[in-house]
């Protein structure tokens, strides 16, 4: 018994949460006492909770051990790395661990957990929407659930792309780890308190503003709003730190011989994503703090009575949140670019164009934020230029889709689950892209904005650019991560149910949007009910798909078939090491000599593995 308690207490997460709660309590207590001493009303939830949040998060990080090495570094010349790399088994996933593969899995597990919770919320309010008027809940709860679903999914997506990039980037470029492993751990450990804050926000009145948190509505919202803003800020901070790490890793730690045009497309996607992360996340961080200051201290950024301007928030919000959409989807598009050549047994068609289109989407996507505000009363002279830039983003996106199709054309398609999911991704993303065109054009956007057309459009882009690629990635890399295969038949069932479920759920949204269904409404015209019912049924099919995935993951991790080092006969570097990869990835650096996708070229390889490196013979040697 005592031993069990010792083990539980030795887990960083548990320690961090306990110390964090104590820290939050202490912070709040001191603030209350200070306020009383200053003659203010002792209990004012806003500032008291704000201070408590800050002290709580700092205490949590300290209790966790996220700062331990740096403190030792400040105090002694040669800080010991004690406790950093000697932990094995499942407990290391609940502690500060600086191995990028552990951190990647931590991210992925958190992301899937949050997706499950937010998805369950969506199913609950889809039931509500299956009939007009009240079905199971009132409008207040509906607004709260809808808002929590939105922001949680945004967070889950940011966490998920970080996870993918964390696990794969160093392996794909032949590095032993990220450039800053401890910073990497800190980036991950900022996430759990954000999740906790999002959940506690529901106990503090919740927030009913949608994920966009537009003032003045968000100024008037209850205390839960404040917790949501802090949570969002933590996720943003994690994203910035992650971006710095990814960029440094790509620039400095590529294996010898890996020039930029020998990098896998996923690495290009990481590069573009990280650039967007470090530049644009600052703006959302700033505007969230502005909102907090306006709520807490009565500053007047957004209050017209005090020379503020509501549109300032919207400009900054979308100046981040549009590029953020590319943060969500670029890694997913990278995953598709990895999977399609391997399972088509053909080189990626037009590699350079695809690589450059990745940067093109990222750069072009920075100048399009205003298309979210065509009807918002935005400066009218911005409308036409932003319409043009938005339309131009379609060109590099098209390059990607055409290149994937040309890669598959005349190939030898191996229709395994990863490729099936990649194909669903392409189809879904295509519909998402095409339905975006009427949203880019001002005249039609004036009809469509704030309707279910928009909701359908972005669920298509996010499912096509993140969720389905994530599924593809799980089936593709699970053998690498665990050394075991996922069950293929269960996988195909999962694929079928999710694909059918997705289109059943989200195609009706376009019809609904055109016919007067506003987004974020609790009640609607009874004439729209049949389509809503269809959408709800589709939603439950997606949910069932997720349950199948979860069972497949658990069953296969327990008793899946053994996977060799390179089961798909892929050429990128991560497949040239054992499954699961060694603790240090590459004991000796590989020498990159060619393209990552030269399938069908006799005798060609992407990299020469140094003698003694595992898996040299292309996966015939099971490990």
């Amino acid at each position: 018994m005592r031993k069990a308690i010792a083990v539980v207490l030795s887990l960083g997460l548990v320690r961090g949460m306990l110390v964090g709660m104590a820290g939050a309590g202490a912070g709040m207590g001191v603030t209350v006492l200070l306020r009383a001493a200053l003659g203010l009303s002792a209990w004012n939830p806003g500032p008291v909770v704000a201070i408590g949040t800050i002290t709580g998060v700092l205490a949590y990080l300290a209790g966790l051990g996220a700062f331990s090495y740096w403190i030792r570094w400040a105090l002694v010349a040669e800080p010991s790395k004690e406790g950093e790399r000697h932990r094995y088994g499942w407990t290391r996933y609940l502690c500060v661990d600086i191995n990028h593969k552990v951190i990647g899995i931590q991210y992925m597990a958190t992301s899937i957990l949050v997706i499950m919770v937010a998805g369950a919320l969506a199913l609950i309010f889809r039931i509500e929407l299956s009939t007009p008027g009240r079905t199971i809940m009132g409008p207040g709860l509906y607004n709260r659930f809808m808002s929590l679903h939105g922001i949680s999914m945004v967070a889950a997506t940011l966490i998920g792309v970080s996870g993918l990039m964390n696990y794969l980037l160093p392996l794909m470029i032949g590095a032993r780890d990220m450039a800053f492993p401890r910073l990497n751990a800190l980036s991950y450990w900022l996430i759990p308190p954000a999740v906790v804050l999002l959940l506690t926000s529901q106990a503090a009145g919740g927030f009913d503003t949608g994920w966009t948190a537009y003032p003045p509505l968000s100024i008037k919202a209850p205390l839960g709003m404040q917790l949501m803003l802090t949570a969002f800020y933590l996720v943003g901070l994690s994203s910035i730190l992650g971006g710095i790490n990814f960029l440094t890793t790509i620039f400095k730690l590529r294996a010898p011989g890996m020039s930029f045009f020998r990098m896998p497309i996923f690495v290009w996607a990481t590069l573009a994503t990280a650039l967007l992360q470090i530049v644009f996340t600052q703006f959302i961080g700033m505007v969230l703090i502005m909102l907090l200051l306006e709520r807490l201290l009565g500053l007047g950024f957004f209050d017209p009575a005090r020379e503020g301007n509501v549109l300032l928030f919207q400009h900054f919000f979308w100046f981040y949140s549009h590029p953020a959409v590319y943060i969500f989807v670029l890694p997913g598009l990278g995953v598709i670019s990895e999977i399609v050549p391997v399972f088509s047994r053909k080189p990626l068609f037009g590699y350079k164009a695809v690589a450059i289109s990745t940067l093109g989407i990222a750069v072009g996507g920075t100048m399009v934020w205003g298309h979210h505000m065509f009807a918002a009363g935005m400066e009218p002279y911005l409308r036409i230029p932003i319409m043009m830039t938005t339309l131009l983003v379609a060109v590099p996106t098209g390059v990607k889709i055409f290149s994937w199709l040309a890669t598959m054309w005349m190939g030898k398609l191996k229709l395994d689950t990863p490729l099936l999911f990649a194909m669903t991704s392409i189809a879904v993303f295509l519909v998402g892209g095409l339905t975006g065109i009427p949203l880019a054009i001002v005249a039609t956007d004036l009809d469509l904005t704030d309707t279910y057309w928009v909701v359908g459009h972005f669920h298509h882009t996010i499912f096509g650019g993140f969720v389905f690629p994530l599924m593809a990635a799980i089936y593709y890399w699970f053998p690498k991560v665990t050394g075991k295969f996922l069950n293929e038949r269960l996988g195909k069932l999962h694929w079928g149910i999710m694909t059918v479920g997705f289109f059943t759920s989200y195609l009706p949204y376009f019809w609904l949007g055109l016919n007067g269904m506003r987004r974020r409404v609790y009640d609607y015209d009874p004439g729209l009910q049949p389509m809503h019912l269809v959408a709800t049924v589709g939603g439950f099919m997606i949910g069932l798909g997720f349950l199948l995935l979860l069972s497949n993951l658990l069953v296969s991790a327990w008793r899946g078939a053994r996977a060799p080092a390179n089961p798909w006969h892929a050429q990128t570097l991560e497949w040239q090491v054992t499954s699961p990869p060694p603790e240090d990835n590459f004991p000796l650096p590989p020498q990159v000599v060619g393209s990552p996708y030269s399938y069908g070229v006799p005798g060609s390889v992407h990299a020469l593995m140094p003698p003694g490196g595992a898996g040299e013979d292309g996966g015939k040697e099971a490990t």
Binding site: N245, K252, M290, R306, E307
Partner: protein, 186 residues
């Protein structure tokens, strides 16, 4: 801040430097956004009550502190530890003096344009964000004086000093833009 890679010490330095620069570049967009808000909300309006001489005085203090930081860093790179300590202490003093100046400024501003007014909102936020950076910069400079860094300096590794000093200069550069924006434009 350790780096695990197939890299030598020289490469580690380049990696650390790139990481720090990326952080600084990222952080500068925060100030860019704040400066943009000032012009978006207030145009180039400036209240007559703002204390321009005090603004100039604290600007000069901050620039002087940057010089001291530069001298400290250079001395550290050349192994002159005594001069390094003297100059970093001077930087800390000047930085604290700058904060005192901002405090004076705030107490005046509270009377003429409190945070609940249009200009006050901008003024307190911009100077507040900057002051927060100054405080973190002072903390970082203090770390450079702690035993761990001193021992590494004796081995000829001055990266820690270089890093905190670079951050301090960045805080100065930010002020170079904030000072005219808040105190001088018309």
């Amino acid at each position: 801040m350790a780096v695990i890679a197939h890299t030598a010490h020289k490469d580690k330095l380049a990696i650390h430097r790139l990481g720090l620069w990326l952080f600084i570049i990222s952080d500068s967009f925060l100030f860019l956004g704040l400066l943009f808000s000032r012009f978006y909300l207030q145009g180039v309006r400036r209240p007559p009550e703002i204390n321009q001489p005090l603004g100039l005085a604290i600007s000069i203090v901050l620039i002087l502190s940057s010089l001291a930081a530069y001298r400290g860093e250079t001395a550290a790179a050349y192994g002159d530890i005594k001069r390094f300590r003297r100059n970093i202490l001077l930087t800390l003093g000047l930085g604290a003096l700058f904060l005192v100046g901002v405090g004076l400024e705030w107490s005046e501003a509270f009377r003429s344009f409190p945070p609940s007014t249009g200009y006050g909102t901008i003024f307190f936020t911009l100077t507040g964000f900057h002051a927060f950076h100054v405080v973190t910069g002072l903390l970082a400079l203090t770390v450079a004086l702690l035993p761990g860094q001193r021992a590494r300096l004796q081995e000829g590794n001055s990266w820690g000093v270089e890093a905190v000093v670079k951050y301090w200069h960045f805080v100065d550069v930010a002020w170079v833009f904030i000072f005219p924006t808040l105190y001088l434009v018309s």
